[in-house]
């Protein structure tokens, strides 16, 4: 893990999966309205096929979604 102790918000780019968001960051509509946030850590859709966008519903696994190869650490 590369999280620093003082990191308030972190986004984990999950390989072949969503963006995992930890920390208190507002998620808004284009008009600035807050979107429902039902849990502390949320997964944002990255494959574009989720039925509950902007959140992930696991659909990426059923459509063979692949992210670009990760850069070497």
């Amino acid at each position: 893990m590369t999280l620093k102790p003082d990191d308030e918000v972190s986004i984990v780019a999950c390989p072949d999966g969503p963006l995992l968001v930890r920390g208190d960051v507002p998620i808004l509509t284009p008009d600035g309205e807050p979107l429902p946030r039902r849990r502390r850590t949320v997964a944002l859709c990255r494959c574009g096929k989720s039925t509950i966008k902007p959140y992930c519903d696991g659909t990426h696994k059923t459509i063979g979604f692949r992210t670009e190869p990760e850069l070497p650490a």
Partner: protein, 351 residues
């Protein structure tokens, strides 16, 4: 008689389960000790005998119900049964005999998984590959498209065995883990338990679904209805959860469980919507679509991956636990699906 309360804010308070009706000599011996504290009973001997005579240990009603009763002493217990019987030597001996045979059977039957390198990302990748290959007959698609109202009720009854104490078996793992894996497990479990809001506990949300379907949401109300393979699925979790040496298997089990949940729950929710259930009733399934899409990422990488990096010698057990989860839950799902497609009840006894 109902034995749970749901208050105006949706907070559910459960009482200990009622004792179930025995299904054979082993469960009769266990229930007799619990009910009468009869020291002349021989639950260990009868457990061993029943195991020896079982055609299929995971589908043996007598053995699996007996084991459930032994495990339940470590959870909420039974109404009218002294708390001290949790550590009764004869009952613990019976449990040990069951666990020896049950673990061996699970290890024999759960498909072997190719070992990845003991690095978090490789472990996560292997688990995603394993769970994505799990394409047995789909109960969730049947529920989405075809299940009748009565079959949905049976589905809820069968699921209630685990779901009314959802997440509890894996909580046994918390003091047994450390570092990244421990933080990951607590992060997942906190969400399961409502993150400080008791009415949002998954077990409480499921109680709403049961009530919407006209069922009793009291814990243990349907112990006489639940089938053997459903008991085996829960007993698998309790086996892993209550034995510290199997903490690797517990980690793998939870990872596989979370990784096979989001997509099926979308189908389950669709099935209940198709038959006219409202948002209150489908909240449980909708919640799991979103929650488990988060949990599976944490479970694969931070929980299972982090655990293997801390305890690489237990990599094999993590894979076994994941495979055993898919196997045991697959068997329970297949039994339900077969009953549904043959238009017969899946219940051991009518509700």
């Amino acid at each position: 008689m109902t034995s749970s309360t749901i208050d105006d804010t949706g907070v559910v308070t459960q009482r200990p389960a009622p004792l179930p009706t025995p299904r054979g000599p082993a469960s009769a011996a266990v229930v007799a000790v619990l009910r009468e504290r009869s020291p002349e009973g021989d639950p260990a001997g009868l457990m061993a005998k029943a195991i020896g005579q079982a055609d299929d240990l995971l589908r043996d009603d007598d053995v699996q119900l007996a084991a459930f009763c032994l495990y339940e002493l470590h959870y909420g217990g039974f109404r009218g049964v002294p708390d001290t019987l949790e550590w009764d030597a004869d009952l613990l001996t019976a449990r040990a005999i069951f666990e020896g045979a049950f673990e061996a059977e699970l290890r024999r039957r759960a498909p072997r998984v190719d070992r990845p390198a003991p690095r978090a990302e490789d472990v996560a990748h292997a688990l995603f590959r394993l769970t994505e290959a799990d394409d047995g007959p789909s109960l969730s698609q049947y529920v989405a498209r075809k299940a009748t109202q009565e079959q949905l009720r049976e589905f809820l009854i069968q699921r209630s065995l685990y779901t009314l104490k959802e997440a509890d078996p894996h909580s046994w793992g918390i003091p047994r883990l450390t570092g990244r894996a421990k933080a990951a497990l607590v992060e997942i479990q906190s969400d399961e338990y409502g993150a400080g809001r008791p009415h949002r506990m998954h077990s409480a949300i499921f109680a709403r679904t049961m009530r919407a379907a006209g069922l009793d949401p009291s814990y243990g109300a349907y112990l006489d209805q639940v089938g053997a393979s459903l008991y085996a699925s829960l007993n698998t979790m309790s086996l892993f959860g209550l034995n510290r040496r199997l903490r690797g298997a517990l980690v793998g089990h939870l990872a596989a469980f979370e990784m096979t949940s989001a997509v099926p729950n979308r189908f389950y929710g669709n099935g209940f919507r198709r038959l006219g259930f409202d948002e209150e009733a489908t909240w449980y399934f909708d919640e799991h679509v979103e929650a488990d899409a988060v949990h599976e990422q944490i479970a694969a990488r931070d929980l299972a991956g982090g655990f293997v990096e801390a305890e690489p010698n237990l990599l094999g057990d993590v894979l076994f636990g994941a495979s055993a989860c898919l196997y045991a839950d697959g068997l329970a799902g297949a039994d339900l699906l077969q009953a549904f497609t043959e238009s017969r009840s899946s219940l051991y006894r009518p509700a």
